[in-house]
């Protein structure tokens, strides 16, 4: 484990974060959040490293990482688009917005374009119901989206 991680600076940052939590096993979810922030997603190596540092069985770490929707186990695209499908967005036509970005990217929700540029997700509610339908482009919430505005935004990514 030590040899594999020695040259990667991000592991040192992760280790410092684990120390901040005094390597407490109940901080597992906090540590996984940090790991995902650093690496973009959680691969087997990262999960094994976390298990080793927190003295937890790898099965427990893997069990937690796969349980929660927020943790990504595969590499993500350069850009992310999250279409909110909460009830307020849904009754205001979020399904059309989703269909249009799926057409534009050529991938279904949960997928990443072959060129690795765009990952497409859906969310169950981001709490932006007052400005529905909402879409999150690269972490920034955009209000009152339509099939047109959302695809236009995606187009700029695909072209870049």
């Amino acid at each position: 484990m030590r040899e594999q991680t020695g040259s990667d600076k991000r592991y040192r940052i992760l280790e410092a974060h684990i120390k901040k939590h005094r390597a407490r096993q109940d901080a597992l979810i906090e540590v996984l959040h940090k790991a995902q922030e650093l690496f973009g997603y959680l691969d087997d190596n990262t999960l094994r490293y976390v298990a080793w540092k927190l003295k937890l069985p790898p099965s427990r770490v893997s069990g937690v990482a796969t349980f929660y929707h927020y943790f990504k186990l595969k590499a993500q695209g350069a850009h992310t688009c999250v279409v909110c499908l909460g009830t307020a967005c849904y009754v205001k036509g979020a399904d059309e917005v989703l269909a249009s970005v799926e057409r534009t990217t050529g991938v279904k929700a949960g997928g990443t374009t072959a060129d690795g540029k765009v990952s497409l997700f859906t969310a169950r509610c981001i709490g932006a119901c007052g400005i529905a339908p909402a879409v999150v482009f690269d972490g920034v919430v955009a209000p009152r989206q339509t099939a047109g505005t959302a695809s236009e935004r995606i187009q700029t990514w695909v072209k870049s």
């Binding site: 906090e30 929660y68 119901c129």
Partner: protein, 548 residues
């Protein structure tokens, strides 16, 4: 920290107030429409005009009318500017100087949407700067905590909360005082207080707004609760989908610690209290209290049977008090104004106010806080302004995936725990989605069931398998391939899943189906196909694979 020091902070803060205050909404809704850019433009315009001595541009939390954001309120002129942009922001300053001010749009602060509100939980929302503890202290913040620690016994605090009639705002409506006294009485070497900020119901954003707009109110409520039940450690479990709420909470905790309002020996009393944040990771089931505790312990968020209830054996098997964000935000106001004052608001069984997130097919979307017992019609018609574009309201969905749809014919129902339950819905945490004639009810039921399939944790079979079967039946109905037999089967399954699931998620998963069936059965029946005659049934069944 002493009372004198607290009062000094308040006095200093009030003294530094300027003649004119421009309150600029910095909650997530307006932020997504560039209210940060508006704030910067206002700051620059004030500086350019050399009015820095008389105008204060203050970042505040939610000002409620989210659909018209970004919002800027000018005081004391009582002008509410809507849809402000960085380009039109300088006009606000020009208008204050009596100059020509093009491009400004207004909302009426005296309209029903605002006038019918009664703010307890949201009293500071849109008024104080959520990132400055001094701003909260100037609004009498932390006085209730000081008086509690120095002048009241824990049992007196619990008696006050019991007398106020406050019930849990997370959805089930359990009396807060009773829960507190159970935790206080339960023996344990250590006790915990948890704030449930895992607001997962789609269509609900009350807790997000409270956390973003007035985080100190939640911290103060938690500290008072901890003193009352004998806890010294608190956790706030907040969803990862709310990054702004997380950052404001972190700021608030740091500031409170710096002033000695959290930590050890608070207000020179023997009381110690620490609060840690726990960030959720996108699992709806973690809103259920036993699943939430598993998640706080760093495990998979699966529920366990109750009893034992968390009040007796909770986090790490110790007595644990779990309340929702809005419940904690009610505590300091109750102790400041007294239990009698609180109990005078609302109905016989439901005291105080309730915050609702109004969204869907309605003119005015945003946050409202009204006394319990306010008729649904006042909320959606007078305050919400009815359906947009001359449409007709068909139903109001409350309580998210655990709730139901209340048809327009029942709009005169007062909003309280019991009345909504009688209609087969629940108060829930406060999401209210208005639906118009274009929404088909079987679609809504299918939508919520899909949600429950995704979010079922998989621990108990009725919920894990039952929701999948119910979804298959609903999809068959929506696709016009189902018969009356399928509908009967769906109703049987609803009954089974409701009565045999382990936790609230499964027990309430059939609610959207049952409540839409109760009031909109004809919409289901219109989609049914005639039953296949018995002679050909054997042949027909081989094609029928949706449910198998």
């Amino acid at each position: 920290m002493t009372l004198a020091e607290l009062q000094e902070i308040k006095a200093r803060e009030l003294e530094s107030r300027k003649k004119i205050v421009l309150r600029c909404c910095m909650a997530a809704g307006c932020m997504s429409s560039d209210s940060a850019g508006v704030k910067a433009a206002l700051d620059k315009a004030v500086a350019d005009a050399g009015l820095g001595d008389s105008i204060e541009v203050r970042s505040v939390g939610c000002m409620r009318l989210c659909c018209e954001g970004p919002l800027v309120q000018a005081d004391p002129a009582n002008k509410l500017h809507v849809r402000v942009t960085a380009a039109t922001a300088p006009s606000i300053i020009a208008a204050l100087q009596g100059k020509d001010a093009p491009g400004l749009e207004f909302a009426d602060p005296d309209s029903d949407f605002f006038k019918q509100q009664l703010s307890i939980v949201l009293a500071n929302s849109g008024v104080v700067d959520p990132e400055r503890i001094e701003s909260y202290i100037a609004a009498d913040g932390y006085v209730a905590l000081r008086n509690t620690l120095r002048e009241s016994e824990p049992s007196e605090v619990i008696a006050e909360i019991t007398q106020s009639g406050l019930r849990g705002r997370g959805g089930a409506g359990f009396p807060a005082g009773l829960k507190w006294s159970t935790v206080a009485k339960s023996p344990g070497a250590k006790k915990y207080v948890i704030c449930n900020a895992d607001e997962g119901d789609p269509g609900a954003f009350m807790d997000r707004s409270v956390l973003e707009s007035d985080p100190h109110a939640v911290l103060e409520g938690m500290a008072i609760a901890a003193y009352a039940v004998g806890a010294d450690q608190g956790f706030i479990y907040v969803r990862a989908e709310y990054p702004l709420a997380i950052s404001r909470l972190q700021t608030a905790i740091t500031q409170a610690k710096r002033l000695g309002l959290l930590g050890s020996g608070i207000f020179d009393s023997p009381f110690n209290f620490e609060i840690n944040l726990r960030i959720g990771a996108g699992a709806f089931v973690c809103g259920e209290e036993t699943a939430l505790m598993a998640s706080v312990e760093g495990k998979r968020g699966t529920p366990r049977p109750r009893p034992p209830f968390p009040a007796e054996r909770g986090l790490w098997d110790m007595p644990t008090l779990i309340n929702n964000v809005e419940t904690f935000a009610n505590i300091a106001p109750i102790l400041r104004h007294g239990a009698e004052w609180f109990a005078s608001i609302g109905t016989e069984g439901s005291k105080g106010t309730k915050v609702f997130a109004l969204a869907g097919k309605i003119q005015n979307t945003g946050l409202i806080e009204v006394p319990m017992g306010t008729p649904l019609r006042s909320i959606v018609e007078s305050m919400g302004g009815g359906a947009p574009d001359g449409g007709r309201i068909k139903a109001v969905q409350t309580g998210g995936p655990s709730g139901g749809c209340i048809p327009a014919a029942h709009l005169d129902t007062p909003v309280d725990y019991e009345s909504l339950a009688r209609l087969g819905s629940i108060m829930g945490s406060g999401g209210m989605i208005v639906m118009d004639e274009s929404t088909r009810m079987p679609d809504v039921a299918r939508y919520f069931m899909e949600f429950c399939v995704d979010e079922s944790c998989g621990k108990c079979i009725p919920c894990r398998a039952g929701t999948v079967q119910m979804l298959a039946l609903l999809e068959k109905i929506v696709a016009r391939r189902a018969t009356a037999r399928d509908l009967r089967l769906l109703e049987e399954l609803c009954d089974m899943v409701r009565n045999t699931s382990l936790c609230g998620l499964g027990q309430t998963a059939p609610n959207p189906v049952l409540s839409t069936l109760r009031f909109f059965r004809h919409e289901y029946e219109e989609l049914l196909q005639p039953e296949i005659p018995a002679a050909t049934a054997a042949h027909g069944r081989s094609h029928e694979s949706a449910v198998s």
